[in-house]
Amino acid sequence: MSFDLPKAFKDFDEARQNSFIAMKELKESGKKVVGTFCTYSPTEIIKAAGAVPVGLCAMSDEPIEEAEKHLPRNLCPLIKASYGFALTDTCPYFYFSDLILGETTCDGKKKMYELMDDIKPVHVMQLPQTSEGEQSFNLWKSEIVRFKERLENDFNVSISDEDVKSAIVERNNERKALKAFYELGKMVPPPFTGSELLSVLYGAGFKFTSEAITSSLEEIRENTLKDYEAGNRKVSEDKKRILITGCPLAGATQKLVAAIEENGGTVVCFENCIGIKSVEDPVDESKDPFDALTEKYLNIPCSVMTPNNKRGEMLERLIKEYKIDGVVDMVLQACHTYGVETHTMKKVVNGVNETPYISIETDYSQSDVGQIKTRVAAFIEML
């Protein structure tokens, strides 16, 4: 067999580190880049403008100390890291971004964007507090239009409905490919480890052309499957099947995945932002493109929305589809929306055949690795 599966997974893992060269080339060829922070960012509009969207993941502990010079210590590490990377100019993707797209998700983020605007132009989209009702729909739709106009202005382009439509098709294809891949996690035992799955979910965001994303995903899917069918098993059948939900996860918080996998569990599904949350549903290609985008993004089951019943419904479905033994809810320190929502999620999860649930609060430091291990090990022992 010529295909080296572990290497293929590693390529995704390294995508973030390596693809800034690709990004540099894109920039040199005259492309504009828009940095985004959140799954609510309508990347289709960015693509329609002929620009490249890049997720400014900010998943490391390093710039936090610097960020704390301006931001309160008791703030979500994701926000501090996002700002810290901007402040220290240590993220190549931030550096290459011509415009930063923010959104009024949680309070911490929206106030941080005000500060970030002093470093680089930030366009903030006003997200409604609720995804329900006509008013929210109209607000979000007009915000998408306003964003389109900003891009037209700043980048000196004009974006037609046709441009948006074809961007939608492109992004849908990427989603489809990603979904086809991560759904392999439904197999018992799964054909990949949780860390590998995360590498792909996370790394896919650092490939910049649609063709690169879809073809590499299709390739890794096919080969994973082939390998599995040839009888290779990476994960033993007796591992407990874990679903991780909650705040965005990757980088420093990978310690949670490691703790699960070292203690008898295997993560088969990530219901997080860097996960399947925004990928599950495509954008409706048959509708007016702006209506379709509005609908799609408002439907993301994020805790910043009130109410947020969709998250519970999604969890219920995923627990069954992925034959989940236990759910781990990761809450970043000082994240109020996810923190408060743990109470509801516990009830929802326990309600599906008494599936056990645990919430783990953490930050980007490694100081709680031991504690997390104990909690996770005890949780898995009880499954």
């Binding site: 056990p356 609060e361 100081s367 709680d368 031991g370 504690q371 104990t374 909690r375 090990a377 005890a378 949780f379 022992e381 009880m382």
Partner: protein
């Protein structure tokens, strides 16, 4: 070869406990953990073997507690949560909720009727509400943990507002400087700890019989205050400090039997 005996070792931050088990508790030891959990674990293990004229080959060993990784002779290691659950179930099968205040962390464990863990919760990163907190506070008073009961009985508690060990420390110092009695402050400290574990307990929901375990369960005053806060009876057991080791030993016997089948 069948292992007829099991030994459960629970190496905590303060004390290392071990229990020899064969259908019942045969022997127990408890020593301070000191600076080396590894040494403490070997010491309790060797002394149980020697005292009962056993060979290492005769026993199945389960280690738990934060020092569990330091034992190289254990057949299996398990978390405190699982072992505490089994231990309490062994001591009293009616128990459904365990409150444990350990040196490093506090936990509340819910059991099902078979003694399996149904749910649990642990305190956050900091030392608030742990045995460590109490230790720091009590030594500030120049008292000993053993004297807590006699010191606090009948005292009107002084309210400690801070949950953080560092802040509570300066709060206590200024209280004493302001003329509060040692008794009142000590009682306040117990109330603070009892409050913390009660809040933790209410987060998982308390069910049926509640058992308070860990070294601090020896304090009848603390137990009484927790009862007051929870509004229900809380039992303790003379073995409660050994609870984790007992659970480890019970599980050890179970694994040994399974293996020999």
């Amino acid at each position: 070869m069948d292992k007829l005996y099991s030994i459960g070792i629970d190496s905590g931050s303060v004390a290392t406990k071990a229990v020899l088990f064969k259908d019942r508790i045969m022997d127990t030891v408890l020593i301070p953990t000191g600076w080396s959990p590894k040494n403490a674990c070997s010491e309790v293990f060797e002394s149980l073997l020697a005292r009962n004229s056993l060979n290492a080959d005769d026993v199945y060993v389960v280690a738990t507690g934060y020092g569990r990784v330091a034992t190289d002779f254990a057949d299996k290691t398990l978390t405190e949560i699982t072992c505490h659950g089994k231990g309490a179930h062994y001591l009293d099968s009616d128990v459904r909720t365990i409150l444990d205040i350990g040196g490093q962390d506090s936990k509340v464990i819910k059991l099902d009727r078979d003694g399996n863990i149904a749910d649990f919760i642990m305190n956050d990163k900091c030392a608030a509400g742990t045995g460590r907190f109490l230790q720091v506070m009590v030594s500030l008073l120049g008292a000993d943990i053993e004297d807590l009961d006699s010191l606090t009985r009948g005292a009107e508690p002084e309210k400690i507002n801070s949950m953080c060990t560092v802040f509570a420390e300066s709060e206590v110092v200024s209280m004493l400087a302001g003329g509060s009695s040692k008794e009142a402050v000590a009682s306040g400290i117990l109330h603070s700890i009892a409050g913390k574990i009660s809040t933790l307990a209410s987060r998982v929901g308390i069910e049926n019989k509640v058992m308070f375990t860990g070294g601090l369960a020896k304090s009848s005053e603390l137990t009484r205050i927790i009862e007051q806060k929870l509004g229900r009876e809380v039992v303790t057991n003379s073995y409660s400090q050994l609870n984790g080791a007992i659970g480890a030993a019970v599980l050890g016997q179970h694994f040994a039997n399974k293996k020999s089948k």
